[in-house]
């Protein structure tokens, strides 16, 4: 029986190159890194995603993802 293998593709995550499986969703990526989706905001190719979209948004080659959070500041 054939087993389909997903291609690894390159995306940029917080300015650094990262390899992910083609089609991985944003939510899956966050979960794989132990990131709590409720503690971050996400921007994909300069568009801010709503939290409800994380599960429905697959990643493609060359995507630029920014995952941000609140930190101490004045």
């Amino acid at each position: 029986m054939e087993r389909w293998v997903r291609m690894a593709v390159q995306i940029t995550l917080n300015g650094r190159t990262e390899a992910v499986e083609d089609g991985t969703t944003v939510l899956r990526l966050l979960e794989s890194k132990g990131i709590n989706p409720a503690r971050v905001a996400v921007e994909l190719n300069r568009r801010i995603l709503r939290r409800e979209e994380y599960d429905d948004t697959p990643l493609s080659p060359g995507d630029a993802l920014e995952v941000v959070t609140f930190v101490g500041g004045g």
């Binding site: 503690r39 971050v40 905001a41 709503r50 941000v68 609140f70 930190v71 101490g72 500041g73 004045g74």
Partner: protein
């Protein structure tokens, strides 16, 4: 005394806004917040540290539900960067307030008036509650108010410098002309600085370094709270004018000579 501060429809009893930066540890930060009575706290927005992505973030360390969160656009050098950061901050889902900072220079951290006004107009248009950080420029303050900002926030002196109120004559003019609350933000070093700001008629003070880097942050937070309360009461009480000559306090007649 019912002397509430209202910003964008939100009633605040405390006129001390605190920053969350530069604390030595979270215990000191929490103790300072507790002692301060502050209801508004500022936060910055940064990339998540991916070297340890499951590490606790600021929101895990403080009970953010107790505060009005005021995200800042610190680090942004242009209006575009500030607008982008403000949108990301709003997407965190806790606040549509923004402390607007457009700061191109690293040495003095002084705000760019042109970029600030441009970003303020865009953000007001996009439904943000905008609290712009500015230099002591009364004309700029009026323009920002006309653009729909919820307050204006003139600096006392450069961020973190602890110099206190170096330009209070300009701040007096801003306060005289403002129809929105004036929050003195940056450079406050001691409670006497904050009290002076309040005596001049400021509506609140935003303080970070002076508390976070004090030897005893919780005690300094309490001192700032008291200084601000004293200054506010003095403003409402109506001080005596300064005179170049003396005016005796005891009666002139009936002296036994």
């Amino acid at each position: 005394m019912d002397d509430k501060l209202v910003i964008a429809g939100k009633e605040l009893r405390s006129r001390l806004f605190l920053g969350t930066g530069k604390y030595r540890n979270y215990d000191e930060m929490r103790a300072a917040f507790e002692a301060s009575g502050a209801e508004v706290i500022t936060v910055a927005l940064r990339r998540l540290d991916l070297s340890d992505p499951s590490k606790k973030t600021l929101l895990d360390e403080i009970d953010w539900s107790r505060y009005t969160i005021l995200p800042n656009t610190a680090g942004c050098r242009t209006a575009d960067e500030a607008v982008r950061t403000a949108h990301l901050a709003r997407a965190m889902g806790l606040s549509n307030w923004v402390k607007l900072e457009v700061i191109p220079d690293d040495k003095y951290l002084l705000p760019d008036p042109v970029g600030t006004l441009e970003a303020a107009k865009r953000l007001v248009d996009e439904g943000f509650v905008v609290l712009p950080y500015i230099n002591d420029d009364p004309v700029l303050a009026k323009r920002l108010e006309e653009a729909g900002c919820a307050t204006v926030m003139p600096l006392a002196s450069p961020i973190g410098s602890g110099q206190g109120m170096v330009n209070f004559e300009q701040i007096k003019i801003i306060i005289e002309q403002a129809r929105v609350p004036v929050v003195v933000d940056a450079g406050i070093g001691a409670p006497s600085d904050a009290a002076l700001a309040m005596e001049l008629g400021a509506s609140a003070c935003l303080i970070n370094t002076a508390v976070a880097q004090a030897k005893n942050p919780a005690l300094m937070a309490e001192a700032m709270k008291l200084g601000i309360e004293a200054g506010r009461k003095a403003f409402l009480a109506g001080r005596i004018p300064k005179k170049p000559y003396a005016s005796a306090s005891s009666p002139l007649e009936g002296v036994v000579r």
